[in-house]
Amino acid sequence: MQIKVKDQEGVASFHISGEINIDTVAELKKAFKKVIDNKKRKVLLNFEAVNYIDSSGLASLIELSRDLKNIQGIVFMSNLSAKVSSIFSITKLDRIFKIFDTEVEALKNFYGY
């Protein structure tokens, strides 16, 4: 798994690639913690290059969402690959997380926050 984080108009934008699983999730959680510690309140996760996410990965997204809520922040997700999208549907997380087809669309929606 590889993680690239960049600042896009005040949004901490994550480009993750590879598989988010029980063995790789620690690295992602570390990157999330850094964002929270730096009081970044807007986070975007681009899943275009993520080919799988397991239960530990999903739990890390929930933890991020909770941590952001505590600092009045929000997380958006975009570009879900087909596999990731079906896993979100199976777990019903697609009904809860704010998911956009493209990164541009997601970034536009941060303006209201």
């Binding site: 029980i22 080919n51 799988y52 397991d54 239960s55 530990s56 999903l58 739990a59 929930i62 933890e63 969402s65 690959s81 087909a82 596999k83 999208s85 079906s86 896993i87 549907s89 199976i90 777990t91 019903k92 997380l93 009904r95 809860i96």
Partner: protein
């Protein structure tokens, strides 16, 4: 001059081939991605029939994958296990709802009909040339076989049961034990672990049990993660007033 032209043309062709290969690889990955998506969504249909939560499928995939990994399976086999394991109960699609959702008092005939979900699931994939669907067929057919030969549908014994079936059998039972059902409460993690241990050599392959017990902390993390997902979904559904 001619040599230089030849050389530049060579690099041009090389670049074209490289680009075409990249495009082909991307297209192939897209097809694979859609294929796996369909597998998950198909499995979800069977879950709707059974009233189980979606995390059941994620747990089966994660437990099976972890066991496969610890048993030293190849990455290819681990991937087959990950995607095919979610199809284990697809045969329930052809079992009537009235029987599937009956909480108690199943007649012997109804019990037999429920047992049919194993061969019926395998029938769905019969004749497929896809390696993944062949594994799905095996798993459907053998995930209710027992190591001591008392399982169904064929009463296979020991290593006659394919390894994929032996792995998913344990993952499925462990998940059933730790899940609440209309007719029973969920067993705690430790209690369920003990029950699996107790069934080594009876219901389950001792080698699979040994590996499962050795990765206890990871199994617990998977179990905990899916509990977190379920409670988060429940909590948010209540907040958003959407049907969970």
């Amino acid at each position: 001059m001619a040599t230089k032209d030849k050389k530049s043309r060579y690099f041009e062709y090389k670049e074209k081939i490289r680009r075409s290969y990249g495009q082909l690889k991307k297209a192939y990955e897209e097809v694979q991605d859609s294929y796996a998506e369909m597998v998950f969504r198909m499995a979800l249909v069977a879950e709707y029939k059974d009233d189980a939560t979606g995390t059941h499928l994620v747990r089966i995939a994660d437990y099976s994958t972890e066991i496969g990994r610890q048993m030293g399976l190849s990455q290819k086999d681990i991937n087959y296990l990950k995607y095919a394991s979610v199809m284990h109960d697809i045969g329930k699609l052809v079992v009537p709802d009235a029987i599937l959702k009956k909480e108690s008092g199943l007649t012997p005939e109804e019990r037999e009909l429920i047992k049919k979900h194993a061969p019926l699931g395998a029938d769905i994939f019969r004749g497929s040339r896809s390696a993944l669907l062949k594994v799905a067929k095996l798993i459907c057919l053998t995930h209710h076989e027992r190591y001591d030969g008392t399982g169904y549908p064929n009463g296979l014994k020991g290593k006659e049961i394919p390894l994929f079936g032996r792995i998913v059998a344990l993952a499925d039972v462990f998940d059933a034990l730790t899940s609440r059902r209309p007719y029973k409460a969920a067993y705690g993690f430790n209690e369920a672990m003990e029950m699996i241990k107790e069934q080594s050599g009876k219901h389950f392959d001792p080698d699979v049990v040994k590996v499962f017990l050795s990765c206890r902390s990871k199994i617990k993390r998977i179990w905990q993660a899916t509990q977190d997902i379920d409670s988060f979904v429940k909590e948010k559904a209540a907040e958003l007033h959407v049907e969970s």
